[in-house]
Amino acid sequence: MRRSFVRGCGLFLAALALPVFAVGTATAAKSSTNKLAPVTINGSGSTLQLAYDQQVILVDFHKTQPTVTVNYSGVGSGAGRQAFIDQTVDFAGSDAPFPAADAAKPKGGAYLYFPTVADPITVSYKLSGVKSLQLSAETIAGIFQRQITKWNDAKIAADNPGVKLPSTAITVARRADSSGTTQNFTTFLNKAAPSAWTLGAGSTVNWPTDTQGASGNAGVAQIITKTNGAIGYVDFSDAQAIGMTYAKVKNADGKFIAPSTPAASLAVAGAAVNADLTYDPINVAGAKVYPITSPTYLIVYQNQTDASKGNAIVAMLNYVYGAGQKTAPTIYYAPLSKDLLARAKSQVAKIVVPAG
């Protein structure tokens, strides 16, 4: 009696399981358009793209795929790239490609750069009584190298005819951590003021000791907003969201242009794009171009080892290149140019996801 009961149960369960299997295989085939398998993917890196990732990926994308949890930690481009090399994260956020010395280090093999948005890097300041300012690259170089130490210095006055400048001491705020924003900012100074700027370009730079170091764009912004006389480089999205005051910067055509998403889009459009989709919009020609425009990338391994993670990453990138581009200007980021967007979309197909 017991055995037949058990057999009956077994048959009953098997009968139940059949349709489940049928539906299961069917949904597996359609998984790219349906809900994905529950999975968590982790990224870390650039603080310039932090606000974008938080809004577009962690919130908006997550709403369309509730079973996919994405975590992103803003620790600086350098730390993000290092975590990517060590494979303690699934993707990295970086404002600059790997330096040549590190290019072969990532332990997971070949990787791809996916540009997401662009963001101007503002030269933000806090100076009571001075609501607008314009600076040339040479002056900026002099300020950040501590050759210009007071706000009423002749060089700043020369850039700003007619503006009443106080004699307040200048406090320079810069990044203490390895930063893509630093890299792009110093690249601009290298390109636009090669004889004035002597500290070179890189994620970290040997800043003068009487400058204030902070972690992340947010840290620099915090210093500037709390200190009268402070100046530093902060990404446009954060500067706008906080309501900071920033300077107009002289571009390659000699015009003083304020940072804005249209001015950044012009820079992106005018940049040459490499085969691996990295591009350099810094100091490109154009009358209305904002010269310190930073690219930013999501770096992903080409050969994914985990099916659910791989599918999630593909879906995330597709979202960034779809609705994510429309959201960008609303949070003060510049979307990609049409051409770059098309190339980026087709690069997504290069990611190899094992059959799930």
């Binding site: 968590t40 982790n42 870390s44 932090l50 606000a51 938080q54 809004q55 962690l58 919130v59 949890t69 975590n71 992103y72 930690s73 060590d86 494979q87 303690t88 902070a214 972690s215 992340g216 947010a218 840290g219 912004a221 915090q222 907003t225 954060d238 969201a241 906080i242």
Partner: protein, 300 residues
């Protein structure tokens, strides 16, 4: 013949002697300075707590303790993942460190005695209590996280357990030492084995002190930041899994938001700070209560 010459007149001890008024003034001034030092010290200490309460009290509500963490720019409550993470990680660390620590303390006091091994372990335990927590974090990061490629709550718990264990061992050792030998003797005389004696006589007698020490270790671990920064990553939604995926903690979130220019993030930092202080205070006060309550019972 006494060592002191007896005064010819008792009153001479009480009559003011030449120069004694200056000495008295000096003594009063000294007392005043000492009291001043007391207030100087207490003011910043109390100011910190009061300020955290003032800033954080508005944030504390059920939503704050359970909602997911909003993006930095947003206003609004939400530190649920951090609360869960702190509880999870500290809980896991306690479950690893406290049993091992108590056992180690038992070994030191009951079995090791004056032996070489026991002396070495005692010395090393004392050394370990002084190791900066950042070194523990570094160690677990290079030894565990880089190998498993998984920042998760367990790695953080390991780092915290390394911090807690020497504290628990030393407290247990000291508390066991205070148990009078007669108790053990009596138990042996009744025919108990050593392990049974320890379990049924020695431990219960030392229990208040051991529990108190363990609670203090937990309080310390809950507040640690540096070991967690390296080992647990970050999340914005609660993750109750110990091994699966990154996590966050109140201390890590406070550290992160302390540097944020966005008022919403700053408010959440204060709320998290108040929550953390409350958790730490509850454990510390519990530890004192345990000692006070049980020692009163024992001396009664």
């Amino acid at each position: 013949m006494t060592a002191f010459s007896a005064p010819s007149d008792h009153r001479s001890l009480l009559t003011p002697r030449p120069g004694s008024r200056g000495r008295k003034i000096r003594s009063v001034v000294a007392s005043g300075l000492i009291t001043l030092a007391f207030f100087v010290a207490l003011v910043p200490l109390v100011a910190v707590v009061l300020y955290v309460i003032q800033q954080g009290a508005d944030q504390l509500n059920w939503a704050f303790l359970t909602d997911p963490i909003p993006i930095d720019r947003a206003f609004g409550p939400g530190m649920g993942p951090a609360v869960a993470g702190t509880l999870l990680i500290t809980g896991a660390a306690s479950m690893m460190a406290i049993p091992l620590g108590v056992l180690g303390g038992i070994y030191l006091n009951e079995y090791g005695g004056r032996g070489v091994l026991a002396r070495v372990i005692r010395f090393l335990a004392e050394v370990m209590t002084g190791v900066p927590s950042v070194v523990m974090g570094l160690f677990i990061y290079t030894f565990v996280v880089l190998q498993t490629k998984e920042p998760n709550a367990f790695a953080g718990a390991l780092a915290l357990a390394c911090l807690m264990m020497p504290i628990v061992i030393r407290t247990t050792d000291e508390m066991l030492r205070l148990v009078p030998g007669e108790l053990r003797e009596g138990s042996y005389a009744l025919g108990s084995r050593k392990s049974r004696t320890i379990r049924t006589v020695v431990l219960p007698s030392a229990a208040p002190g051991i529990i108190s020490g363990a609670l203090l270790a937990v309080a310390r671990a809950a507040g640690e930041t540096a070991p967690l920064i390296f080992t647990i990553g970050i999340v914005s939604e609660t993750n109750w899994s110990l091994f699966n995926g990154p996590n966050t903690a109140l201390s890590a979130q406070i550290y992160r938001n302390a540097l944020s220019p966005f008022p919403g993030a700053q408010e959440r930092a204060w709320g998290a700070a108040l929550t953390l202080i409350l958790i730490v205070f509850i454990f510390t006060v519990l530890a004192r209560l345990v000692t006070a309550f049980f020692s009163r019972r024992q001396t009664a």
